[in-house]
């Protein structure tokens, strides 16, 4: 049974999808569909979420206890599973954001210096 590589998350860098999902949930709980669109729209469609890999990511976050879920009714009046950021998830988001900022700054420094 060969485990295939996790599907490429569109143009989203590997490992960053988790962080983006957590960020989307900061303000309010949301269901999967909303999360995908929120990421795409907030990034001005620069990032495309592959919908098939969004849900496994959500479930993984739930297994780790960073989000919790419950079934509810969406704005469209349809049943949907809503994900809510937990305290543990909030801490993880802070940590991940910090790591990300550090790295992009480092990369910026290098790119900004050597170009022209």
């Amino acid at each position: 049974m060969i485990l295939k590589k996790p599907p490429e998350a569109g143009e989203i860098l590997q490992g960053t999808l988790d962080m983006l999902i957590l960020r989307t949930l900061v303000l309010q709980p949301a269901h999967g569909h909303t999360i995908a669109h929120a990421i795409e729209q907030t990034s001005e469609n620069a990032l495309e979420v592959e919908q098939g890999s969004l849900y496994p990511a959500l479930h993984r976050l739930e297994d780790r206890g960073w989000v919790s879920s419950e079934w509810g009714v969406s704005d469209n009046n349809r049943r949907a599973k809503f994900y809510r950021l937990t305290d543990k998830g909030r801490k993880e988001l802070d940590a991940a954001t910090g790591r990300w900022r550090k790295m992009t700054r480092a990369i910026d420094l290098i790119l900004g210096q050597s170009f022209e």
Partner: protein, 891 residues
């Protein structure tokens, strides 16, 4: 690893499916809001999401341990497939169970004897002190040796002396005098073995010195059986051989010594003694951190000191002292014996494996289409191999479970029938336990067996060529030439191993028959032997012993049906005492004395009771009393060795012998006239040559020697009766009790029983190999039959064509027979060759049979050929009954 991911998988999947539905619905809503038609909105949503099944499957797999699940599925499949062919499954499991059962049985003995540590605390530190001479290392100690050894405190924590066997003591002073196993020990004995105390204390050093008083320590079982576990018995006095003994303590349960004891009394050695007689054995506990080589180095120095102190006669220059692990010395040569048995059962297991592999190959042939179908549906080679291995492992583990029960029950039953002289297995093998070692061993060989017999068929089945297999007509599906060759090879291996086993069994059987036919040199029929302990103060000199013998013999002769009675202080067919001697007037050669020989003190009726023939001179009579001239009778082996020529000046009957020159004060006596020569007896068992023996009258023993003797050995009474001696036991015991003023007798055995016990080891060897050999033979027969009948079945078409073309049926039959017998011939040659090489390991178990005994090497192959012929006959006959029309029509 986050184990949450494996929980509630089905529920999570249903949840996920619903979630996907919800997602698609929302996406559709969005698309419709963008103005797409409902159909297009649905299509786009699905397109965007991808295949929901794939996503779900991916997550399902993420939440699973694929290997475990596949194994589980294969296992369930295996069970289904077995339930379809119950007969095949039952036979296979039975064959494996027998193979694993015999291995479990032998391993449980190996485990108990070789692997399990002694029951004492920290048993690795226990050693036995040995005397080293050019002939080897032997246990045994004299008081000066013991005294020197116990002073080696740098290497030993405790040093303790104990009896070799013990003379037995009589608990008297009640209605039921009882002979018990009383063992003399020195004070440190209990501390050395770490014996637990149930009550009271053990001996003090003062109690273990001369004039230390009469004290004893009881074993737990004697305390329970004779004194009903009464705790007040400590401090009470019991009568041992008429003397009051103070009970100072009771040893706790579970203290089992290799030399079983009912009670212990202190030796009370005079450590200043210069007595060089070695009449007891010494064990010691090493100090923590001291190794056996270190102890041996220290004991080399001690040997030099011993020589300086007691002179070169006490310890020859090439002699010395050493230690051996106590466990090693208890096991002795049993190790090799058990390894031979292990090899034999491994052979049985391999035969079983070959047999099962053969059955599986046959089954795989009929399942060829099944595998081809599976392969066509996408199963890889690995998957097919794995599935078949799971099947064979299921079979082997089931067989292993049954084999475990079979082996455990079998070994207990077998050792109850015949303990076979194996040390450390307890009474009737009761010491053999089913512990973790045995369980792990059985599990391991079950797994190994499963892989061994499953791998070849699995590999073959997985190599199936799809198009060929699927296109082949079902009933005609064959494994092809290659499969046939593999199966033939397996049968050859199986039968060759069987030849080896059966040849080994034949050699041991011939050994046993030879042993049984050895004339022991004395009467076995209608002779009863029994022991009488004379350890009490009454028998510290020879006169009362002589009187006891005379009174006892007279009373026995008065019993109707009793023909003769005699006494000795050694048991024929058991290791006796040895003593050095000088032939008076003969110049010494290199050594300090003329030689050494077996030594036994007997009564006047001894030779006639045991019917040991008198060859020359006279036997002892009533007149050979202490005041009469000192006499000795020798046996033929003695005469031959020391009077090799028959010249006139070389007549033993004209010589005198000085027994035990310089052996110490206990043996101080004058020279004895050789008055008679008697026939040889096989005292060291029928498989060794007769030892040269010197016999002296008990009545003429020096008093000190009698005193010493009464402590280390009982008297053996021998009574020859007119008919079955068992019916005389009670009157004989009563007569002897009267004659001895109340001494009981114990260990009542007929001489035939003693002889049977002496060859118990060879009997067990033979029995086991015979069982293994027949198991192998049976399996080999099944194997040959299987291969031949399969081959006939495969060739039905060919045979039909031949028959249609006019081949006589006899030709067809002979063709099959020829094929089968060619196989057999190869096996016999291979097996015989293997046996030629392997029987060298059996050489030390053989007696009177050469390792290349022609009968043992010819009979088994003939037997096997016969068995093969019978097994091939039925398929051969079937070949002639092939109906050409039917055979051709199956095309």
């Amino acid at each position: 690893m986050n184990f949450k991911r494996f929980q509630g998988r089905s529920k999570k999947d249903r949840d996920f499916a619903e979630e996907i539905e919800s997602h698609l619905a929302h996406e559709e809503d969005l698309n419709r809001a963008r103005g797409l038609t409902p159909q297009e909105a649905h299509r786009q949503a699905n397109l965007r999401f991808g295949n929901p099944r794939t996503v779900r499957e991916r997550e399902w797999r993420f939440r699973s341990l694929p290997f475990v699940e596949d194994l589980g599925r294969d296992f369930r499949f295996a069970l289904r497939s077995f339930s379809k062919s119950p007969a095949f499954t039952a036979i296979t499991i039975l064959v494996i169970a027998v193979g694993i059962g015999v291995n479990t049985a032998v391993f449980s003995v190996v485990n108990t004897v070789l692997l399990r540590p002694l029951t004492y605390p920290d048993p690795q530190a226990l050693v036995q002190l040995v005397n080293i001479s050019p002939r080897g290392a032997f246990p045994g100690a004299s008081i000066p040796r013991f005294n020197l050894w116990r002073q080696q405190t740098a290497i030993f924590q405790q040093v303790a002396a104990e009896d070799f066997g013990g003379a037995g003591l009589n608990i008297t002073g009640g209605d039921h005098p009882q002979q018990v196993q009383g063992i003399h020990v020195s004070a440190d004995y209990f501390a050395m073995y770490g014996a637990p105390l149930a009550a009271g204390r053990t001996f003090t050093a003062a109690e273990d010195s001369p004039n230390g008083g009469h004290v004893t320590v009881l074993s737990y079982s004697l305390w329970k059986s004779r004194y009903a576990g009464n705790p007040n018995i400590v401090g009470a006095t019991i009568q041992l051989d008429g003397q009051p003994y103070l009970i100072v303590g009771i040893i706790g349960p579970h203290f089992v010594t290799e030399n079983p004891a009912d009670l212990w009394v202190p030796y009370q050695f005079d450590l200043n003694s210069h007595d060089m007689v070695q009449f007891f054995t010494v064990n010691a506990r090493l100090r923590p951190g001291v190794t056996i080589p270190q102890a041996n180095a220290q004991l080399r120095l001690a040997a030099d000191q011993f020589r300086r102190e007691y002179g070169a006669n006490a310890l020859p220059p090439d002699g010395g002292f050493g230690v051996q692990s106590l466990q090693e010395s208890l096991i002795g040569d049993t190790r090799l014996r058990l390894f031979v048995l292990l090899a034999a059962v491994a052979c049985v297991l391999l035969i079983a494996c070959a047999n099962v592999a053969n059955l599986l190959l046959a089954k795989a042939a009929s399942r060829k289409r099944e595998f081809a179908t599976r392969a066509a549906l996408g199963a890889g080679r690995i998957q097919i191999i794995r599935q078949l291995l799971v099947e064979s492992l299921t079979l082997s583990l089931a067989g292993g479970l049954i084999g475990l029960a079979l082996g455990y029950a079998g070994v207990r039953l077998l050792l109850r029938i015949n303990p076979g002289d194996i040390p450390r297995i307890g009474e009737d093998g009761a010491g053999i336990a089913l512990d973790l070692n045995v369980l792990l061993f059985t599990l391991a060989i079950s797994l190994l067996t499963g892989v061994l017999f499953g791998l070849a068929p699995a590999l073959r089945a997985s190599r199936t060529s799809l198009s060929v297999a699927l296109n082949e007509n079902g009933s005609h599906a064959s494994v092809g030439v290659r499969g046939g060759k593999l199966r033939s090879a397996l049968v050859i291996v199986e039968m060759a191993l069987t030849v080896v086993l059966v040849i080994g069994a034949a050699l041991l059987m011939r050994t046993f028959m030879k042993l049984q036919s050895v004339d022991p040199g004395f009467a076995l029929r209608n002779v009863l032997s029994m022991t009488m302990s004379i350890s009490g103060d009454r028998f510290q000199t020879s006169a009362p012993v002589a009187q006891l013998i005379q009174q006892g013999a007279d009373r026995l002769h008065a019993l109707p049906g009793v023909l003769d009675a005699g006494v000795s202080n050694c048991l024929p067919m058991a290791d006796g005492f040895g003593m050095s001697f000088d032939v008076v007037g003969r110049p010494h050669g290199k050594g300090p004395v003329t030689g050494g020989a077996g030594f036994c003190s007997i009564s006047y009726g001894y030779f006639s009771t045991l019917q040991i023939p008198l060859l020359r001179g006279r036997a002892f009579t009533r007149a050979d009393i202490a005041s009469a001239p000192a006499v000795v009778v020798i046996n033929q082996a003695f005469a031959r060795q020391y009077w090799p020529t028959t010249a006139a000046n070389q007549d033993p009957l004209k010589d005198r012998i000085q027994i035990g020159p310089g052996a110490g004060p206990a043996f101080a006596e004058g020279p004895r006239m050789v008055v008679g020569i008697v026939g040889d007896t096989h005292d060291r068992g029928p498989d060794s040559d007769p030892t040269p023996m010197m016999y002296i009258p008990l009545a003429q023993m020096p008093d000190l020697e009698t005193a010493l003797n009464s402590r280390v050995a009982p008297l053996y009474w021998f009574v020859r009766t007119q008919s079955d001696p068992h019916t005389f036991i009670n009157p004989i015991a009563a007569a002897l009790r009267e004659a001895s003023a109340g001494l009981p007798v114990a260990h009542v055995l007929t001489m035939s029983e003693i002889e049977a016990r002496n060859i118990a080891r060879q009997r067990l060897n033979m029995l086991l190999l015979a069982v293994f050999g027949s198991a192998g033979l049976l399996m080999a027969a099944i194997g040959v039959y299987g291969v031949m009948s399969y081959s006939v079945q495969q060739r039905t078409h060919e045979l039909g064509v031949r028959m249609a073309l006019g081949a006589p049926t006899a030709n067809l039959r002979n063709m099959v027979l020829r094929h089968g017998m060619t196989l057999t011939l190869i096996d016999v040659l291979l097996g015989g060759g293997g046996a030629l090489w392997l029987t060298r390991f059996l050489a030390s178990f053989l007696f009177g049979v050469k390792p290349l005994d022609p009968i043992s090497f010819l009979a088994p192959p003939l037997l096997l050929t016969l068995v093969a012929l019978v097994s091939v006959w039925a398929p051969a006959i079937r070949a002639t009954r092939v109906d050409p029309m039917t055979a051709l029509r199956t095309e």
